[in-house]
Symmetry: C3
Subunit: 271 residues, 3 copies
């Protein structure tokens, strides 16, 4: 039995007990799968567009906030800036998903601005994390063109500089706060053949952090939970359309004991 | 045989014969499932954003209009206000879905303004209906935290005051025009584990009202039709991802005779 | 063996080898299925909203551009106008999907303006193509009310006038450049029971043109590829919810040899 994964099972239990409300200010492609992934795992989704409503709901009812810049507009950037300020004032954890930063200047400048506001977690693929850390100009778009291992050093320096936990997703997922790092090996390549699974993971991270003792544990738990659900879905459904439905089924059916049994931690915590 | 449900079977037949075009001005999360639910049952969806196009299409071609405030913006509120005026001028039935009203002031003020414009139907969960009737400040977001029975009195007073038929959805669905009330017992809890099924139901209500002798019958028919499809889908698919696809399958496969057989009316009409 | 379909199999092979990035500026209902269809077949989707980001990404990384006016706003029209200028300057093929043109003035005027900018391909149903060619005022909305055969003459004159290849989709699909015409007979009526399959096809066309020796071959290949996937999905899943998932599965599983075997060309090329 994988005792290191026990805290992840506890995150899943707590998530289902408390059903945290996650406000997702995300791109227009990801909204439906983001809401469905949160509902499937046992959390509660909410999406708003109006700045006043965001300012009203966040401190009153939300356990977490996701900021995703996938289809950023000037208007959405203003709402996101405002939401981050509200979350910080209320002590609510917030996740930054810097989709496709690097080459695209508008979103890169905006994400660098948000970096100064101490995100609780930054979740990205290797090229996004490297670009945000200032190491490269990023890939050709939302899909990573680099292995996640290549971004580990960038992730550590980004974590130390920003104060955020950083989650680099890929064939191997890395979680780091700059001093300790964990590598997890769950998941399946099919997860990249369904649009916005990674974007929806940002919201799952927010729900897990709201249900965890700390952001590091919450981020690692979300990588384990989604990765295991993805593996189990791919084992039954090797094609992307039916896989997408099965991924939600597996998230809903996932038990804490399965999390303990299936989590693959590739490096001991604290290495 | 449930002869009280015969009119609902006739609504389904007429809906498939006439395939009413329903204009849905709805939230950004619900658009895809709303269009797919209308197509599955046999109606026709259309979504527009431009005010001039709305004003042109509504009187010329639409059988119904849905106004859903789930991700309301100032700009969308203006388009919705305009659409309601067009629908009223043309005598087209329109449905108000006051998502998450109560606590959130912007949408609550806007829905109260729309209330004065005599919606044909108001569809909401218990906390939304109570909030709109002025009885409470609503739940913590789009999910109802109250049983639908608790909202029955609020629904009646809201119906009498606004002139609308009111449909309160929950474990039991209530339809009331303020003088007569019907309770229906179809449905499955899985319908709340798929995002925007309730929002899509607002569009189904518009299609059913366009195919019914009156709004009361149309609203009750939509509760029966969606509830039966939900039960039959859940019997085969107990997890939310595959359930979502099965719900559309069951709506497409639903026959008028199944509607008659499976409709569960819990209180005699006119109690 | 259908040797005329060999070039379509080659398009599929090249698409999977090069995985062209397609920028889709499309309606809000179609975004998710558009991205998933591109991912399933082996291409790469990207969606942006900001004009500066569009201008930056298109020439640097995109193999094709889709312009779809399904939920056109004044703001989106400006972004689309700008994107078309960028694509033309960079020599990138672009597809125009004139959803529901004819009766609706705003989009009809806008699409006529875009016609002057030499789209690589125009994809529409019969009523849209006839309306764009000036022959009729179109159907009642996005669904065609006419057979695609009725639009063949309009398609030819539209192609000659605009310089675009024209693809008329329906029970029979027609591809024409004004001098040569091909009719293809693949597909299934269930494809019209899932929202935005036609809209997503516009993006598939862009991906196929980016992978083809010429726009005519790319357009015909996309009609064959999607039609065959639709037939195979419908054979296993006759209801729309499970059909939608199966359509993506079949696109992912489709092999070049199946394309050669199943393509139904109804008229010899060059008739």
């Amino acid at each position: 039995m994988n005792t290191t994964a026990l805290p992840f099972a506890q995150v899943l239990e707590e998530l289902r007990r408390s059903s945290p409300l996650v406000l997702s200010l995300t791109n227009s492609v990801a909204q439906s799968i983001t809401a469905n992934m949160l509902l499937a795992v046992g959390a509660a989704p909410v999406m708003l567009r109006d700045t006043e409503e965001i300012a009203q709901l966040l401190p009153a009812a939300c356990g977490g906030l996701l900021i995703n810049v996938g289809t950023l507009s000037r208007e959405q950037a203003a709402a996101q800036r405002h939401a981050v300020a509200c979350a910080r004032a209320a002590g609510i954890p917030w996740v930054l998903d810097p989709v496709a930063v690097g080459f695209l200047r508008f979103r890169t400048d905006f994400c660098r601005e948000l970096l100064e506001l101490q995100p609780t977690l930054i979740r990205g693929n290797a090229s996004e994390i490297r670009a945000l850390a200032g190491e490269s100009s990023g890939g050709r778009g939302p899909e990573s063109t680099e292995e996640s291992t290549a971004a580990l050093q960038a992730a550590c320096s980004l974590a130390l500089r920003s104060g955020a936990v950083v989650l680099v997703t890929g064939a191997t997922d890395y979680v780091t706060d700059g001093t300790r790092t964990m590598a997890l090996g769950n998941g399946d390549p099919l997860m990249t053949r369904v649009t916005a699974v990674g974007c929806a993971m940002g919201a799952l991270c927010a729900a897990c952090i709201a249900s965890a003792p700390d952001a590091f544990t919450g981020a690692a738990a979300s990588a384990a939970i989604l990765g295991i659900a993805g593996e189990n879905a791919a084992a039954r459904h090797p094609l992307p359309g039916s896989f997408a439905a099965a991924l939600l089924d597996e998230l809903a059916a996932l038990t804490p004991s399965t999390v303990v049994q299936q989590t693959r931690i590739l490096t001991p915590e604290g290495n």
